[in-house]
């Protein structure tokens, strides 16, 4: 039984075709991340799965049951929003239990679930506080707790870390990964941040202009992209693209470029980023500006003449339309 299956999902707002023939299955316990640039339809797809938007056509199944026409509350899902969306007039307990109360659960069940969730998220000390009295990270944990107590078939996360600062984002990312292991639940996570996608996902779904470009594990997508878009979207710094003699494009990851006397790409260093562990060079060559990622610390500075080389085995070839040539 699959946790989620989407068949030929289409969605239009008036004349604008936002989702085009989306087919996807999510296995039980899988962590799937939707990633793509803004406007690619990833949030709309998530909201369609949640039932907050109606699909124009297609079939949605959650836990084997068709839910295409089912209201959100009855789909067996729970959602965590980017803006947390906590009820401002309710305390933490009230926020977490509202859904259960609406579903008519007994007090014993509610108390037990909230105890478990509060412990899991270290929220025990804050149960009587209002959202206004909590920090950003605590609010996010309450929002996650509100999802956990519902014991859904499927968790939906809509860019949950976007409002947190960098340090907290890292910590919460680890927290979400831990929750996924502990709960063993199926999760769908939307983000535009490829680091979040790479670090959290069992499988990544890359979307562009309402279409699925490629689905696969993070390393499959990184090592074996189907097209130029996926190749350029995943990886930081992103892949270098050079025109090839055949009229298509060559792609080389920054870590696969090296400084070598036997290289074929002479150029001038225009910018240096020293990160301690890595050194990134921007090098202006006849083929355009290329990013080079060197491990460790290197002495190159702006204005230096360097020659870049690469291993032909690490070059990706794309045709004129951006399709991968294998």
């Amino acid at each position: 039984m699959t946790a989620l299956s989407l068949e030929k999902i289409n969605k239009s707002f008036g004349d604008v075709h936002v989702l085009k023939d989306i087919n996807l299955t999510v296995e039980p316990g899988e962590f799937v991340v939707f990633v793509g640039p803004s406007g690619c339809g990833k949030s709309t797809l998530l909201r369609t799965i949640a039932g907050l938007e109606d699909a124009s056509s297609g079939t949605i199944r959650i836990g084997g049951k068709e839910v295409t026409q089912t209201p959100p509350a009855k789909r067996g899902i729970a959602m965590v929003f980017q803006s947390y969306a906590l009820y401002p007039h309710l305390d933490v307990t009230g926020n977490m239990t509202l859904g259960l109360k609406q579903a008519g659960e007994t007090k014993a069940v509610i108390d037990e679930r909230i105890g478990v969730a509060a412990k899991m998220l270290s929220l025990e000390a804050y149960l009587k506080r209002r959202p206004a009295e909590l920090s950003g990270g605590q609010r996010q944990r309450v929002a996650i707790g509100r999802a956990i107590v519902r014991k859904p078939e499927l968790f939906l996360f809509d860019e949950p870390l976007s409002n947190l600062d960098a340090a907290l984002r890292m910590a919460t990312r680890v927290e979400i990964a831990r929750l996924h292991r502990e709960l063993g639940a199926s999760m769908i996570y939307v983000t535009h941040d490829q680091t979040e996608a790479m670090t959290l996902a069992d499988r990544i779904v890359v979307l562009r202009d309402g279409r699925i470009e490629q689905v696969g594990s993070p390393m499959e997508l990184y090592n074996d992209p189907d097209n130029q878009f996926v190749a350029g979207f995943l990886g930081a710094p992103s892949m270098n693209f050079l025109p090839s003699e055949a009229g298509g494009t060559l792609g080389i990851r920054p870590e696969h470029l090296t400084i070598s006397a036997t290289g074929t790409l002479p150029g001038t260093v225009t910018h240096v980023e020293r990160l301690g562990g890595d050194t990134n060079l921007l090098v202006e060559t006849a083929q355009g500006i290329l990013t080079v990622r060197l491990f460790g610390q290197h002495p190159e500075k702006v204005g230096d003449k360097v020659v870049l080389g690469y291993d032909p085995g690490h070059v990706y070839r794309f045709d004129k339309d951006g399709k991968r040539l294998r």
Binding site: A50, L52, P71, A73, Q82, S83, L86, Y87, H89, E133
Partner: protein, 279 residues
């Protein structure tokens, strides 16, 4: 808090302007209040003087209490104002929610149609309204006044409230939907508390004109049993003789309930639990 950035001169100027404005705004009210406690001669001799032992008189209030059924007028005004406000807020908020929340054909057109009422004074339709009230047998009832005032208040209410409701986070409403709240529950439990300051603003805007209105009570409900306070006070203003003591006393008394309502609403304006709802 921001002392470093504000020079005391600025502060003095700002307070000066505010005090001046307060004095101008309160002047007529104060004149009414002090003169309502003076004898008739004293009112005309020195209108701006405070009542002294010699000029002090409660004659105006005594006349008001004796003449006519003043408490009934009071009650009528109160019923009409409170019920109208309740209906304006309820229906205005509901229409605003529908306009701001749901995509449907003719949404913009409907919004414009509802806003049109702001630009067209309802009094233009007085004759037609009177004919309608005669036809439905509502002349000389408080219902007639309540209906008219509700219609008069709705356009602005819908306009203001729909602007505010657009600002309520979609995520919050969606979170409610996922938690299984009905659209009514989302409206009453999530959205209304968040736009409470806007509701108070609308209430204050509508309250004063309704309370003070003379036109519609005079035309639609002039009977003794349905007279409002403003209409009731008119008995003291004659074509040849006006009982100024009584008029001023009646006006002074009429201020009180509005003041109480205003205090209630302005507390709502200030109190906001909205902070921290999102982000």
């Amino acid at each position: 808090m921001h002392k470093a950035r504000h020079s005391p001169l600025n502060s003095i100027a700002a307070h000066g302007a505010l005090i001046l404005w307060t004095v101008i705004a309160l002047f007529p009210v104060v004149v009414i209040l002090i003169n309502s406690f003076k004898t008739r001669q004293a009112i005309f001799r020195e209108p701006l003087a405070l009542p002294t032992g010699e000029s002090f008189s409660m004659i105006g209030y005594q006349t008001v209490m004796k003449q006519g059924d003043f408490f009934l007028y009071f009650q009528n005004s109160m019923i009409v104002t409170v019920v109208s406000l309740f209906l304006i807020l309820l229906f205005g908020a509901m229409a605003a929610f529908a306009l701001s929340e749901y995509r449907f054909k003719g949404n913009t057109l409907m919004g414009l149609y509802l806003a049109l009422g702001i630009m067209i004074p309802i009094r233009i339709g007085t004759v037609a309204i009177l004919q309608m009230m005669v036809a439905t047998g509502l002349v000389n009832t408080l219902t007639a006044l309540i209906l008219v005032y509700t219609a008069q208040g709705l356009p602005l209410a819908v306009f203001i409230l729909s602007e505010f409701m657009r600002q309520v986070s979609d995520d919050l409403k969606n979170a409610g939907r996922i938690d299984g709240m009905s659209e009514y529950a989302i409206f009453f439990k999530l959205v209304l508390p968040l736009v409470r300051p806007a509701m108070a603003t609308v209430a204050v805007f509508n309250m004063i004109p309704i309370w003070n209105d003379l036109w519609f009570p005079l035309i639609l409900a002039p009977s003794e049993a349905t007279k409002t306070l403003t209409l009731g006070s008119q008995v003291f203003i004659g074509q040849f003789v006006t009982d100024w003591n009584a008029v001023l006393s009646a006006l002074s008394l009429a201020i009180l309930p509005v003041l109480v309502l205003y205090v209630i609403f302005s507390r709502q304006l200030i109190r906001g639990i909205t902070s921290g709802a999102v982000k």
